[in-house]
């Protein structure tokens, strides 16, 4: 197996063009597991760890632009105010050691239906910046996940950054795992309100072949929500939960049953909606 270690982004794009079968690796928390389990044996690894520019984040045009190599630990420490739901999701990723290594770009590249960042990226309407020697293109995250661990990148493209709209209203993320930490999602849910445009975004993880949205639930809530008072009736909240559950296409597997996943999604949808619309969190 060849190991390519470009010193900068231009070299990386050239390497990817020359070796389209090369698998990009940064933190290695997904790729190394697959290699160790002999699930795949790519002709080459393309190490992006030396490329400083990928590790930066910036704010521009109402977006937070995260370089592909920004780690989950960094999202938690530096971006909890600007991207609260993404920071909540980041806290559920693996263990501290994994969060120190794992990157947002790697999460996207793996494109697992259980990827912890994906529901938030869907709910907030994030955009993936893909680049090749041919140029840059932007892919709305809703178009990025094309199947089980498949994404919309061309063979010569690398993920350069992901652009996430700055918080335009309350947002929430919740993830069910059967252990209290360090667990793959049984299912997860994100929701974000855009108070200016009065739109609702949703994201569903681990309950379908790829991360999903719940468009019917979004439309319903956009209409049912009292945007000025930021309030919603009990019935409407329940209906929202039911529509989220209906949008999922879960299966029975070792992590949980399809019926449980639907049930849990409905519960999480109702609860996260309440947290966004009630002034105070429910007293414990």
């Amino acid at each position: 197996m060849e190991f390519l270690a470009p010193a900068d982004w231009t070299e990386a794009l050239e390497a990817k063009a020359a070796h389209p079968g090369a698998v990009p690796i940064c933190g290695g928390t997904d790729v190394m597991v697959e290699l160790n389990f002999e699930l795949r044996r790519p002709p080459a690894l393309l190490d992006l760890g030396r490329i400083r520019a990928l590790k930066d984040w910036e704010v521009c045009d109402g977006h937070v632009r995260l370089g592909a190599a920004v780690t989950f630990a960094r999202i938690i420490s530096a971006l909890a105010d600007r991207l609260p739901a993404l920071a909540t999701a980041a806290r559920t990723v693996g263990s501290p050691q994994i969060r120190n290594r794992a990157t947002i770009g790697g999460n996207l590249g793996t494109a697992s239906p259980a990827g912890d960042a994906h529901p938030v990226l869907l709910a907030t309407g994030a955009v993936v910046e893909a680049e090749s020697v041919r140029g840059v293109r932007t892919i709305p995250v809703g178009d990025f996940f094309t199947g089980v661990k498949r994404n919309a990148l061309e063979p010569d493209e690398l993920i350069r950054a992901v652009r996430i709209p700055e918080t335009a209203g309350p947002q929430q993320f919740a993830k069910v795992g059967s252990r209290n930490a360090m667990v793959i999602a049984v299912c997860s849910f994100a929701v974000a309100l855009d108070l200016e445009r009065r739109t609702v975004g949703t994201g569903i993880g681990s309950a379908g072949p790829r991360p999903l949205t719940a468009p019917a639930a979004e439309d319903f809530l956009a209409g049912a929500l009292d945007w000025d008072g930021l309030a919603v009736s009990e019935d409407a909240a329940e209906r929202f939960g039911a529509l989220v559950a209906a949008a999922a296409s879960p299966i029975d597997d070792v992590r949980g049953t399809a019926a449980y996943r639907r049930r849990a999604l409905a519960v999480m949808a109702v609860r996260t909606l309440r947290w966004m619309t009630e002034k105070e969190a429910v007293a414990v």
């Binding site: 389990f37 929430q172 252990r179 049984v186 609860r271």
Partner: protein, 768 residues
């Protein structure tokens, strides 16, 4: 001047020698063994739970550069089968595979990658058969295919006492509760995977360095399969990263030795995590049906139980596990009328055998759940109904054995009840779902539950159970020094430390070395059944006593006065009152005093095949837990808030190690209660990794309150009682009871999964 007892003797908590290296990552585990020129072994395993092998073509594997040997069952030099109790397990599959992951062929190559590629290149033509996977059908359906020619029943052990089937007896019960319980397949999940190094010797034999639990039992099984005389298989214990029963059966030992003898080169085999899930036996899954009848005041009238244990493809220790399930199957309670039938089955599921608690864990979940069900029917406190029926010294067990040592079960309940409950949930407390942010308090209910268990210590049913210790005393540089040598496996439990403590206490010498365990000294028996402090501790004590007598004789020969009642302390012979008489170094001079002793516990007897009557156990040990949980009843997520425990250990040998054992055993019981299960579907393992086989993390294991009682057992060395297993029994039912208390659900199966709580109707339909 009086000489005080030696520091770091028994009752003290000296720092264990392996502690710091393990924390720093410097400890040498079996997987770290390396010698120049060694080859790397790998194993081809069956992808099918049941299939005939039509042919094996090793040619493509041999053609790979760097591959030195590819061996199949045809290449086994000696006996083709091995096993701890019944020799039914082929070294490599012989014409047939009986479980998913069964070894079919082995490879030695210059490097790991070549060995793995060679494994992948071996061509096996299988004729796939429908696996036998239903436990009840395997045992009782006459049309079920037979996994082995002799049928699918490994052992059926009835226990009969009184007249449990007599309608007149049953009529005495005011309440009768009948329930079915299931326990999933738990894994030992030790962190150091199976590994070892086989080095061929000039005399035609082999030297094996292996992480195992019982060196001599390994050697006794290995030698016949290699066609070697017993003395030609020499074993040394390599660094063990946990065992919990999972290293009782052989894994890579014979394979590595075959490859080393064939190639004439050292061969190391190291399983990776995935292979480890296929490389050792697991805890028997169980299906149990219990009926309990009690009087209005809670007194048990009768108990009947049917206990089915799935032993999987090979016998391993199923026979002994069934013996424990049968004899301990009603728990630490007095019951006049009982009828128990425990069965162990062959199926094409993964083989099951020893795991911490050994047949006493599964039934503990069932009988404790039954006690709670009775308490609920009668409106009694769970501890009151337990205390009413608890055994005590003098009680008769279901097998007719008199408990002749202290059994302070009722006092344990009183102590448990006196321990403070945790405060109500406060802001900032971790909620069910942990970091998943699934609740801010919605749907969360608190529950409290109790559990108590009874575990046999040491080997039972007439087994000739002994341990051997060699103790050497000499003087170097004017200072006495002791070496303790046994073959007992330090598997992380702290045995090396305890051996040293005993020698310090008995011989009054500070400088004590514990030699590497190997087979140049007699057998120590297994690091199993909570027995090593008792057995190897007993052997070290006996050898030290013999050394001490020799030293006294030597002193008298040399003209020193050694009064009656003298002892050794502070490097001297001292009088009964502690007055120093003479320095040991002076007595010894250049002499070396060495004594070897075998220690046996008192004999046990078999269980009658029809009635299960017999005094089969050496010692009984008890622990009791109280669990407090918070459950998100809508999402089915559990957070164990607190686990309090009371355990009687007879005598505390090393408090720090003991507390570690109690915490670890409790955590393993927590895992079985809410997390840990090897999921098997149609005979295939679905989750052979730590991604989906979830063991408790630091965020799952709550703080523990602990009360340790010391009621000495007069038959045991220092009065001690084996301590490693009892906490594993009782924490599971305590947590399950607490979850029931929070949810109101029956929950007859562990591990409890979120869907069992959140969508119970669906689950009832599926499991029913």
């Amino acid at each position: 001047m009086t000489i005080q007892a030696s520091a770091a003797g028994i009752g003290d908590s000296p720092t264990r020698p392996d502690g710091t290296p393990k924390v720093l990552g410097a400890f040498g585990y079996a997987s770290d063994l390396t010698v120049p020129g060694m080859l790397h072994g790998a194993t081809l395993r069956s992808p099918h739970p049941r299939a005939l092998i039509k042919s094996i073509d090793v040619g493509p594997a041999l053609a790979i550069p760097g591959v030195r040997a590819v061996l199949t069952a045809e290449d086994i030099p000696g006996t083709k089968y091995y096993g701890l109790i019944a020799q039914d397990c082929p070294v490599l599959a012989l014409g047939e595979v009986r479980y998913h992951g069964e070894p079919v062929a082995i490879v030695a190559a210059d490097d790991v990658a070549a060995a793995r590629r060679a494994v992948a290149a071996i061509v096996v033509d299988y004729e796939v058969l429908t696996p036998v996977t239903d436990l009840r059908a395997a045992l009782f359906d006459p049309d079920s295919p037979k996994v082995h020619a002799g049928g699918n029943v490994v052992r059926h052990q009835p226990v009969r006492r009184g007249r449990a089937d007599d309608p007149d007896i049953r009529a005495l019960a005011d309440v009768v509760v009948t329930r079915e319980y299931q326990v999933g397949m738990q894994d030992q999940a030790f962190l150091g995977p199976e590994a070892g190094l086989a080095v061929p010797a000039a005399d035609g034999g082999v030297d094996l360095h292996v992480a195992t639990q019982w060196l001599h039992a390994d050697a006794e099984q290995i030698a016949p399969c290699l066609g070697l005389a017993p003395e030609l298989v020499r074993m040394t214990l390599a660094g063990v990263g946990g065992a919990f029963g999972g290293r009782e059966d052989l894994s890579m030992q014979i394979h590595a030795a075959m490859l080393a003898l064939r190639t004439g080169l050292p061969v190391r085999m190291t399983y990776n995590r995935r292979e480890s899930f296929f490389g050792h036996v697991h805890r028997h899954p169980a299906v149990m049906r219990y009926t309990h009848g009690a009087r209005r005041d809670g007194t048990l009238v009768f108990v009947t139980a049917e206990i089915l244990l799935d032993g999987g493809a090979y016998a391993s220790t199923t026979e002994a596990v069934v013996g424990n399930a049968a004899s301990l199957g009603v728990g630490p309670y007095e019951v006049e009328h009982l009828a128990i039938d425990a069965y162990g089955a062959y199926t094409n599921n993964p083989p099951c055998g020893a795991m911490r608690g050994f047949g006493a864990v599964q039934t503990c979940f069932a009988y404790e759940s039954q006690m709670d069900a009775l308490a609920a029917e009668l409106g009694m406190h769970p501890l009151d109904i337990r205390a009413r029926n608890a055994v005590k010294q003098g009680s008769v067990t279901p097998t007719g054995q008199v408990i002749d040592a202290p059994a302070p079960v009722a006092e344990m309940f009183a102590q448990l009840r006196a321990m403070p409950l945790p405060p109500d949930r406060a802001a900032g407390d971790l909620l069910p779902g942990g970091y998943g942010n699934t609740t801010h308090g919605e749907g969360v209910r608190r529950g409290v539950g109790y559990g108590v268990g009874i575990k046999n210590i040491c080997y039972s049913e007439g087994f000739d159970d002994f341990s051997t210790a060699r103790v050497t005393l000499s003087a170097a540089d004017g200072e006495p020094a002791v070496t303790v040598h046994t073959a007992a496996a330090e598997v992380g439990q702290g045995l090396v430390t305890v051996q040293g403590q005993i020698a310090r206490t008995e011989l009054g010498v500070e400088r004590v070395a514990v030699a590497q365990a190997d087979t140049t000294v007699g057998s120590a028996g297994s690091s199993s059944a909570s027995r090593q402090s008792y057995m190897t501790g007993g052997a070290v004590k006996a050898a030290c006593e013999a050394v001490r007598e020799r030293v006294f004789s030597l002193a008298r020969e040399r003209g020193f006065q050694v009064a009656e009642g003298s002892r050794l302390a502070g490097g001297k012979i001292v009088s009964a009152s502690g007055e120093p008489l003479v320095d040991l170094a002076l007595v010894l001079g250049a002499d070396v005093v060495e004594e070897t002793r075998e220690y046996r516990h008192r004999p046990t007897g078999p269980l009658d095949r029809m009635t299960g009557q017999g005094s089969s156990h050496v010692q009984f040990a008890f622990a009791a837990h109280r669990a407090v949980v918070d459950v998100d009843v809508e999402l089915g997520l559990v957070r164990v808030v607190r686990l309090d425990v009371v355990q009687d250990v007879g005598r505390i040998m090393n408090r720090q190690s003991l507390e570690g054992q109690i915490q670890g055993g409790t955590a393993q019981g927590l895992g079985l209660a809410v997390l840990e299960e090897i999921v098997v579907a149609d005979g295939k393992v679905r989750n052979p990794s730590f991604t989906d086989y979830l063991i408790p993390t630091i965020l799952d294991m709550p703080p523990m309150g602990m009360r340790i009682l010391e009621y000495p057992d007069p038959a045991a060395p220092y009065g001690l009682r084996g301590a490693g297993e009892p906490p594993t029994l009782s924490s599971t039912p305590a947590i399950a009871a607490a979850v029931r208390d929070a949810t109101g659900l029956a929950l007859g199966r562990v591990p409890i999964r979120p869907e069992h709580i959140a969508v119970p109707a669906q689950n009832a339909a599926r499991d029913g």
